[in-house]
C-alpha cells in the first residue's frame, strides 16, 4: 500500500509539522511507502476557475506546475492524509490551493446523486482513502466541528465517508503518532 501526506503547514506553525511527523510514523507501520509533499515549498498557482481540467485537457489542469506531481501521486495512492492548521474551521491556504487545483481533475463533470444531493461522477475506478488531520493551538469546539464537516463534505465529492481528527496543542511527535494511529484505526486502515 502507498500513502500520501499533504502537509499544509504555514510558515512559523509549530504544531502541524509535529502532526506530520506523527502521521508519517503511524503510516510507516502500516504501508510500504509514504510520500510527503510539503505544500508551501512547491510552486503551485491558484486555480484559475477556467474548467480546463474538464473541457480542454480532461483529467489534468491546464497550468503546468508542481500540482501535476501531487495529482499523479494522489491517483496512485491508497491513502491520502490532509494535515493542516485548522483555519476558522477550514484548511490552510497552502492545502486549499492544492485541493482547488486537483479535486476537479479527478472528477467527471457530469452530475450524479450522492447522499441525497447532486455531486459529480467519478473519473477513476478507485480513489485513495482520505483522512483529515487538523491542528489547533487551543480548544475551539466550533472550529473542530466545522473542520470535521468540511472533511466529510470533501469525502462526498469522491463518494467516500471520510474520517478526521483535530489535535489540540499537541507538541510532541509521540502523542501525535498515537492520535494518528487512532484515526487510521477508525478509517479502517489495516495495522
Amino acid at each position: 500500500m502507498k500513502a500520501l501526506i499533504l502537509d499544509g503547514s504555514r510558515e512559523g506553525d509549530s504544531l502541524t509539522p509535529v502532526a506530520v511527523l506523527g502521521t508519517t510514523s503511524a503510516l510507516a507501520e502500516r504501508v510500504e511507502t509514504v510520500a510527503l509533499f510539503k505544500l508551501r515549498d512547491l510552486a503551485i498557482a491558484p486555480c484559475a476557475g477556467c474548467f480546463g481540467c474538464w473541457t480542454r485537457t480532461p483529467g489534468e489542469c491546464v497550468i503546468e506546475d508542481d500540482a501535476r506531481d501531487v495529482l499523479r501521486s494522489y491517483v496512485g495512492s491508497d491513502i491520502v492524509t490532509y494535515v493542516t492548521p485548522v483555519t476558522f474551521g477550514g484548511y490552510s491556504f497552502q492545502l486549499k490551493k492544492l485541493l482547488d487545483r486537483i479535486i476537479l481533475s479527478v472528477l467527471d463533470p457530469r452530475f450524479t446523486t450522492v447522499g441525497g444531493e447532486v455531486h459529480h461522477l467519478l473519473r477513476y475506478r478507485r480513489y485513495p482513502r482520505t483522512i483529515g488531520l487538523g491542528t489547533l493551538p487551543s480548544p475551539d469546539p466550533e472550529a473542530e466541528r466545522l473542520f470535521a464537516r468540511l472533511v466529510a463534505r470533501n469525502g462526498l465529492n469522491i463518494h467516500q465517508t471520510v474520517e478526521s481528527i483535530v489535535l489540540v496543542g499537541v507538541a510532541d511527535p509521540e502523542s501525535a503518532r498515537r492520535s494518528a494511529e487512532k484515526l487510521l484505526d477508525r478509517a479502517g486502515v489495516p495495522a
Binding site: 486555480c47 473541457t55 480542454r56 480532461p58 483555519t87 477550514g90 490552510s92 463533470p109 466545522l146
Partner: protein, 222 residues
Amino acid sequence: MNALILTGSPKGRKSASFSLASRLAEGLRENDVSAREEPVHAGLRTEEGTRRMLDAVDGSDLVVLVFPLYVDSLPAPLTRLLELVAERRTRVSSPGIPRLAAIVQCGFPESRQCDTAVGICRLFAERTGMRWAGSLAMGMGGSIGEDIRRLPGGGKNILDALKMAAESLAMGGAIPVEATTLFSRPLMPLWLYTLIGNLGWRMQLRKNKSRRPLTYRPYSQG
C-alpha cells in the same frame, strides 16, 4: 459608511461573483454607502495590492465577501486573505469592529452545499473581532453568467434579495432572513439544471476541440 466588497472569483469581471458584487455595490450606493469593490486574486498578486486590501479592510465599516464555492469552501486566495487579515488584527492594538457578510454561489443545485463556506466566514468574523452580518447563498450559480437580468424571470429573486440585503446593511443591520430565503430559491427545476449542465460540458469540450474524451484518465492506475 464605508463598504468594501471583496470578490473571490479568479475570473474577475467575467464571473458570476462579480455580477452579484456589482449589484450589491449599486444597492449600497443607492442607500448612501460608499462602496468599493476589490478582486482578491488580482490584489494578492503584488505586495502593494495585498497591502491596499488589508488597509481597505481596516478602514471599512462593512466588509462583504462574494465568492464561488470551491471544494466546499472558499477559493484559496480568499482563504489567504482571511489569514492575513487575522494576523494583522492580532498585531494592531485596537482594530475597528467592521461587520462582515458573505455572498456565496455554487454550481450544484442545492444552496445548502454552501453552508460550510458560510460557517467558515462566520467563524472568521467571530474569531477576529468582527460582527457577523449574515449571508446569502445560492445553488445553480453556473447559470448566472455576466448578467443576472438574462436569467429566467429576469433574475427577480436574486435582484430582490440583493436589494433587501443592501438596504439592511446600509442601515447598519444584518442581511434579513427573507433575503437569504429568496436568494436560495432554485432558478429552475433540478432535472433541467442537471440536463443543461451535462450537455454543456460536452459542448464545451467540442468547442475547445479537445483531443481527449470527457472521461479521459491521464494517470490511469484506476
